[in-house]
C-alpha cells in the first residue's frame, strides 16, 4: 500500500482515482492495516494535493473508520495553505480541526496557522445545520421499541462534536494553550474566546476570574460582547439556565466589576486588528521555523527511504527462498518417479507378490466390505430407557413405577417408606 500511495500521481481520470480509493477502503478492513507506516499517510495526502483534489481529500480525512488516513503537520500546512490561497476559509478550518482532534502539538507553525484559519472562519460566520434538523425530527411521531439493554447517550465533546463554531472554539483554545506567545495578554484573550465558543461556560468564567481579573489583564471588548450574547441566550433557555445557574451568577458579579472599572480592564480592539496581529505572528514564526522544518522533513524522507528499501529487500529475499524451496521439492518428486520407472523390471516380482499374496487393498469404494454396525435405534433406546448407572444394582421397585394403579401405590410405598417401619 505504501508503493500504491506514492504512485497515485500517475492517475489519468477520476474513475481510476475512485478505484484506488476503493482499494484503500477494502485494505482498511484487513488485518495488515494495523501496521501501516507514516509514509503512506504523507504520500497519499501529498499526491492528492498535487492532483488538485483537495476537497476530495478532506472528505476522505473525515471518514476515519473507513479510510484511516491522517494528516501530518507538514501536509496539514500545505492543505491549509492551498485553501487559504483559494479564499476557502471554511475548508481550511475543517483541516485545522483534524489537528485538534489528533492533539498533535509538535509543530508550532501549524498551531499558529490553525488559530488564524479558525478565527477567519468564525469571522465569516457558519450556520449550524445540525440543531435545526434535530428540532424538525422531534416534531415527528415517535415509535417506541423495547430493548433488553439500553445504551446511554454519550457525547465525549471531542470526536462527537459536529457544529463548526464549537469545533473552531476548541481548536482556538487548544492551539493557544500549546503556543508559547510573547504577548501573554493576547494569548489569554484567545483562550477565553475559544472557551466561550466551545461552550464550556463554567471553565470560561473560572478562567476569567482567576487568571484575567486577578492579574489585572486587559480584555478585548469583542470577547466580552460574545460572552454577553451567549450568556443572554443561555438565560432565555430554561434548561440551560438551570444547568449553568452558578456560572451565570458569577458572570453577573464579574460584569459589574468590568463595567465599574472599564478603563482598567476593557481595551478596545476590532476582530480585524486581532487577525492582523495573528497574521504578523504567523509570519514571524514562519521565518524562524521554516529552516528547522525543512531539515526535519529531509531527515524524515531519508529515514523512510531506508525503511522502505530494507523492507522491500527482505520481502524479495523471502520470496526467492520460498521459490527455491519449492523447486527443490519438485526435483525430488521427479527423481522418485524416475527411480520407480528405472527399477521397475528389477522389482517386478516383488510388486506382483505383494498384489496377489498378501492381498492388496482394492481402491474402489464399492469393493470395500461393510462392517456390521450397531443400529442407531438400539443405542438410542438403551440410552433412554435403561436406568441411570447409579441405580443399576438396586431392585427395580426402587426406581421404576409399574403401570397398574394398585401396584403403583405399593411401589410408591416401597420407595418412600423403605426405611421406616411404620407406614402411615
Amino acid at each position: 500500500m505504501d508503493l500504491l500511495a506514492t504512485k497515485i500521481i500517475h492517475v489519468n481520470n477520476i474513475q481510476e482515482l475512485e478505484l484506488i480509493e476503493n482499494i484503500f477502503l477494502n485494505f482498511r478492513k484487513t488485518q495488515p492495516a494495523m501496521f501501516v507506516r507514516d509514509s503512506m499517510h504523507y504520500s497519499f495526502a501529498r499526491n492528492y494535493l498535487d492532483l488538485n483534489q483537495a476537497n476530495r481529500l478532506l472528505q476522505i480525512l473525515k471518514l476515519k473508520y473507513k479510510y484511516g488516513i491522517f494528516l501530518d503537520s507538514y501536509t496539514a500546512n500545505m492543505l491549509m495553505d492551498y485553501f487559504i490561497k483559494n479564499g476557502d476559509h471554511k475548508n481550511a478550518a475543517l483541516t485545522a480541526h483534524e489537528i485538534m482532534l489528533q492533539e498533535n502539538a509538535e509543530n508550532e507553525f501549524t498551531l499558529a496557522v490553525c488559530l488564524l484559519t479558525c478565527f477567519k472562519c468564525l469571522r465569516i460566520g457558519v450556520d449550524d445545520v445540525d440543531e435545526e434538523s434535530n428540532i424538525e425530527d422531534s416534531k415527528q411521531t415517535k415509535e417506541k421499541r423495547l430493548v433488553y439493554f439500553l445504551r446511554k447517550e454519550y457525547n465525549d465533546e471531542h470526536f462527537d462534536l459536529k457544529s463548526i463554531p464549537k469545533l473552531c472554539g476548541k481548536t482556538i483554545y487548544f492551539s493557544s494553550s500549546n503556543l508559547k506567545m510573547d504577548d501573554q495578554n493576547l494569548n489569554k484573550n484567545l483562550k477565553l474566546y475559544g472557551l466561550v465558543h466551545f461552550g464550556k461556560y463554567e471553565k470560561a468564567v473560572e478562567f476569567l476570574e482567576n487568571s484575567m481579573i486577578k492579574n489585572n489583564e486587559a480584555i478585548y471588548d469583542f470577547v466580552i460582547d460574545d460572552f454577553k450574547k451567549t450568556i443572554d441566550s443561555l438565560i432565555q433557555n430554561e434548561e440551560s439556565s438551570q444547568k449553568f445557574s452558578a456560572s451565570i451568577e458569577k458572570w453577573n458579579n464579574l460584569s459589574k466589576v468590568l463595567e465599574s472599572e472599564s478603563e482598567k480592564f476593557v481595551s478596545k480592539a476590532n476582530i480585524d486588528s486581532i487577525i492582523q496581529k495573528i497574521e504578523n505572528y504567523v509570519n514571524q514564526i514562519g521565518e524562524s521555523q521554516t529552516k528547522i522544518d525543512i531539515e526535519n522533513q529531509n531527515n524524515l524522507f531519508l529515514k523512510w527511504n531506508k525503511e522502505q528499501e530494507s523492507e522491500l529487500n527482505e520481502q524479495i529475499r523471502s520470496f526467492a527462498m520460498e521459490q527455491k524451496k519449492q523447486s527443490i521439492l519438485q526435483r525430488l518428486e521427479n527423481l522418485e518417479k524416475q527411480e520407480e520407472m528405472i527399477t521397475f523390471f528389477e522389482k517386478r516380482q516383488e510388486i506382483i507378490d505383494a498384489y496377489y499374496g498378501k492381498g492388496f487393498p482394492t481402491e474402489y469404494p464399492s469393493d470395500i466390505p461393510i462392517e456390521p454396525e450397531e443400529s442407531i435405534f438400539k443405542a438410542k433406546y438403551e440410552r433412554h430407557f435403561k436406568p441411570w448407572p447409579k441405580y443399576m444394582n438396586r431392585p427395580k421397585s426402587s426406581y421404576g413405577i409399574s403401570k397398574s394403579r394398585a401396584s403403583k401405590l405399593e411401589s410408591l410405598k416401597k420407595i418412600y417408606f423403605a426405611n421406616s417401619n411404620q407406614p402411615q
Binding site: Q31, K64, Q140, T141, K142, K144, V147, Y154, D156
Partner: protein, 166 residues
C-alpha cells in the same frame, strides 16, 4: 419516517469501546490514557495507559481485539495486563488533563489501603475437634489442646492479593 425511541433498562456503562476511540486516532492511541466510567465512583484515580492495540479490523461493531495496558487502579500500579476493551465504558483523557491523573497516582508498590493482617492459624470446626479428641483418647495419644489448629495459607505473590501474616 418516524423516529425510533428505545425503551429498556439502562446499564451502568457510559462511553465507547476501545476500538471505537482508537481507530479514530493516529498510531492507534498507543501511549494515551483512558478511564472507565464505572471506576469514577472511587475517590482515587483509575486509568489505563495503552501499550498494545490489536483490533479485529473486519469487525463491524468495533469491539473485538486484544488490548494491553498499564493498569492503575485506585492510585496503585498493577502492572501490564490485558484489559476488556470490548466494554463500551472507556473515555479518552485529553493530553491537557493527563497531568491531573499523574499527580494523584501513588508510588510503586503503594496501594490505597494497608494490607489486611491475617493470623497464621485458625481454630478447628467444633465437631471435627471433638472427633479428633475422641480418636486420640481411644488410641492413647497425648496432645496439647492449644495445638489443635489449622494453618491458613494465603497468596502473597499475585498482583491482586493484598494481605500479610501478623
Amino acid at each position: 419516517m418516524s423516529k425510533i425511541e428505545y425503551v429498556g433498562r439502562a446499564g451502568r456503562f457510559l462511553g465507547k469501546s476501545l476500538p471505537q476511540i482508537c481507530l479514530k486516532l493516529k498510531n492507534f492511541g498507543i501511549g494515551r490514557m483512558f478511564t472507565r466510567e464505572t471506576y469514577k465512583r472511587y475517590p482515587e484515580v483509575t486509568y489505563y495507559v495503552l501499550t498494545d492495540f490489536e483490533a479485529d479490523m473486519s469487525d463491524e461493531y468495533l469491539r473485538r481485539g486484544v488490548f494491553k495496558a498499564d493498569v492503575v487502579f485506585r492510585g496503585g500500579h498493577y502492572g501490564n495486563m490485558e484489559i476488556p476493551g470490548f466494554k463500551e465504558d472507556f473515555q479518552l483523557i485529553a493530553k491537557e488533563e493527563e497531568k491531573f491523573f499523574l499527580e494523584r497516582t501513588l508510588s510503586l508498590g503503594q496501594k490505597w489501603r494497608e494490607p489486611t493482617k491475617v493470623s497464621k492459624f485458625v481454630d478447628l470446626p467444633p465437631l471435627l475437634k471433638e472427633m479428633l479428641v475422641q480418636e486420640a483418647k481411644e488410641k492413647n495419644i497425648q496432645f496439647d489442646e492449644n495445638e489443635l489448629k489449622l494453618p491458613l495459607n494465603i497468596r502473597t505473590n499475585s498482583p491482586f492479593s493484598h494481605a500479610t501474616y501478623e
